[in-house]
Symmetry: D2
Subunit: 286 residues, 4 copies
């Protein structure tokens, strides 16, 4: 499934007539074949247009520098924000985890079975629970305990490990809040799984609070992390049905199935460059 000659263009720009034609013509003129194309406009008149195009082109590896340079001309004339990503370049992922391992396991399982287009560069944890599993797969494991009195030290260590080595950080039930300073290095590149259907139950202990409120469904939310806790752009959400017989512990167990499925989908879409962040929302061309 590695597409040596496949490239992806993600575009956001003010909508106006002729954009699709221009981009399509641009690719045609360069002997590229459009394999998939999605577009969405917030409003046909005066809105923002979002596009995702996958194209195939022989000899892309040696050609893409020129292609991007030329596209930047076109992009300028349409005031585009855009990025290019070659499909062959697997993103490097660091997974952060604490004691609950189900989300990590799901990601590793999907990765092993070839469903996640990435390399797992490392697993970082403030506990040692994940170590045997991670090392059995030959993935580097870094134990970095977090001192509640001085979190910056752990973050400094983490950043050193990540630097130049990692494209995406996945918080797979990592129970520490990352600082704004940390996040500034990975804007729109830190995905968290929150164990509730946001914006319900922001913050701590969502399952206990779901139990106290007596909800009939519980959920999970995968989102990009911003400085505002649990307020970042939502990528994916899902729920599962519960009833009066579930206490907080049973909700927690039932919730695991949703958490791991939701996180895996969100990470997969990110890795395939299917997510565009727009303000505090996402456009997902899934």
């Amino acid at each position: 499934m590695i597409h040596e000659n496949r490239g992806r263009l993600l575009i956001a720009c003010p909508d106006r007539r002729g954009i699709v034609a221009s981009v399509a013509q641009f690719l045609y003129d360069r002997e590229a074949n459009i394999a998939a194309s999605d577009q969405y406009s917030t409003d046909v008149e005066g809105g923002t247009l979002f596009m995702r195009i996958e194209f195939d082109r022989d000899g892309l590896v040696t050609y893409e520098e020129q292609l991007c340079s030329e596209f930047s001309q076109l992009a300028k004339s349409y005031e585009m924000e855009w990025r290019y990503a070659p499909a062959r370049q697997r993103k490097r992922v660091a997974v952060f985890v604490s004691k609950e391992l189900h989300c990590l396991q799901e990601l590793l399982w999907e990765w092993q079975s070839g469903q996640l287009e990435c390399d797992i560069a490392m697993v970082v944890s403030n506990h040692r629970d994940a170590e045997p599993l991670v090392q059995s797969l030959g993935i580097p494991f870094h134990y970095i305990p977090v001192d509640p009195a001085d979190k910056t030290r752990a973050e400094r260590e983490q950043l050193q490990l990540l630097e130049g080595n990692v494209d995406l950080v996945v918080l797979a039930r990592y129970m520490q809040i990352l600082s704004g300073a940390f996040l500034a290095h990975y804007r729109e590149r830190v995905i968290n799984i929150h164990h509730s259907f946001l914006p319900a139950f922001i913050g701590r202990n969502p399952y206990q609070r779901a139990y106290d409120r007596g909800v009939k469904l519980i959920g999970a939310t995968a989102h990009y992390v911003t400085e505002d806790l649990d307020e970042g752009p939502i990528i994916e959400q899902d729920v599962t049905r519960v009833d009066h017989r579930y206490n907080a512990s049973a909700l927690r167990i039932a919730g695991r199935q949703v958490e791991r499925a939701v996180l895996a989908r969100a990470v997969k879409w990110h890795l395939e460059d299917k997510v565009i962040v727009h303000g505090n929302k996402t456009i997902v061309f899934a």
Copy 2:
């Protein structure tokens, strides 16, 4: 589907050994046949036991006064809260509605097709939109406008209509907040449909706020109404998937399908005496 000789017992009491045996024996001794039985205990040791029993007994109509009188003896010894409801006695329902009619229509449709065990005693509205539909079915329609400066007047009029005539009030997208004084007359007998997945988006304009937040699912919640707005015991919830292409108006339209389904289920369960309120939660023996 009218069960002339079917009765329903709903029981809540401190859990202890022998309760099931005692109740079952009580019914057996009175020649009643248990048709359905559900029970749930919050904790086997020191918890609260909830039971719902449906039983059939020949000649129930003339016998049930005696049966209840005798059962109250048993109930006392186990410190039961309980109620008895004969299945043949259809509850009388008042539906309150404003301008959006989809929930009302769903209830009327289910009622016409025999799925709701009730009589629709009346429809009350602060607008005239529902009038033709309601009257075409021969159901009394009462137009009671609400003066924002003096809501008590409308409520007084409503209470007069309801008094002695109605067992359940269903707020089928009725966009007025009922006062505590009103609710005191119908404790655990006013069901509202809220157009969000509570506790997300409590209060006004949930679809607009769902849009602003960029959620990937929208929901609806049916709950008993208490003085705390949108905080009453939840009976049923459900969600439907949306994506970035839905603006607030499209969310509103998509949400209608969930609202009407959730409300119809909640009302149906209430009418069949399948819901027990316990603190701020419900046990639903669906």
Copy 3:
């Protein structure tokens, strides 16, 4: 929501490089603005490309004849099968129904609330059950009983009513099988709702057979009708959960919710020209 100046192009053709660019350029040159665009290719190399484009263009009404004539040139060079549909032209629908009215009611409700872009030209039935409902809405109702010994007579009468008057026939639980002769007049324009999750339970009495088999979900399928009973291209399917407590009659009642939702979605997509039939399958750009 009526788009006076909006047109829709649906295209199927052998996939090759430059199609998207050509079509986009064609529209740009004619001052049309692409409002939505979907494409799907069965295979980038040697496959079939399917496109749906919605565009806006001032003065479309007086221009579209010329536009289509010019597009047919382009279409020829790419060996396209294509059709053009102006969004302003509401399709005319005939609903066929027998005794169960829930699907008809759902369609009428969606139509009344503006969710279905169509005119209901007539309701045809082999029973009189739907007559009061239909006439109360001012829609022509035609009672055409079907003689089991000679079905052609009823079909002849139906065809006379439909001729030149109807774009789509919806079988909303119409319990008669239409002949190939009838269907030949409305190829890919007769939608049926089958009360099972096809290909499970093809033919008669699916709920009884679902009960006999002990399934844990029941479903419904909306499909275009072909001469092969229940074998036509599937447009939409859905399921709902059941358990051992459901007898055949309870399955039937639970199934109604799925049937009406599935049929309404399928009809809506057809009316908005979102469905392309390809062999015995559909591409749905929903």
Copy 4:
């Protein structure tokens, strides 16, 4: 979560008045406390009653022989089929697998996290793919290739391994058909996951056939295995949404999520004695 003093009674018998009272009284007289109770009657008059009772009783281990002996008297008078299972006795499970490991992995994951009340006695496979995973967890792995010309030899070997050692056989994508002779040893104790929504796509290659038919949902079915291929009593089913973009391979990948979830639920219910087989159906007190 091990309940030393918890017992489970599963009962099927002709429904008549007094059964619940008798069973409850029986337990009360023996100082047992009913922790959970479910019942279902196919028909109140002349039907079959199914009951599942969980009870707690001090010193159950030394008492249960006597309790069962005494209960057999009661059972006889009501013509009950019944079984008793102590909750503390974890069932021993053999998992059969071929080359696709996702269902096995899910079971192992649930088992490791304490969600499956069982011991994994062994994994048996006609391939070596699962060996490293299984052995890394310290579980015995048996490689038993199957000779298409003489399957009895493999089955003989399997039966020897299982004999006296295993309570449940789970076919977690084991791609061999077991003979009636084999199944006779494990009646209602072999659970298979079939990768379609039965009875759709019985037999080979369901995903290819789902693709060919153009379905809009794909499913999975967990069922007890009988001699009639894919016709045994269904325990659980579920589906997931797909669309025209899924080829057979994509359906296969999407289907894995459903397969593993459905199988895990079915196995869990079996292990907790929540499933009663009745003819070709199941009653699941989930």
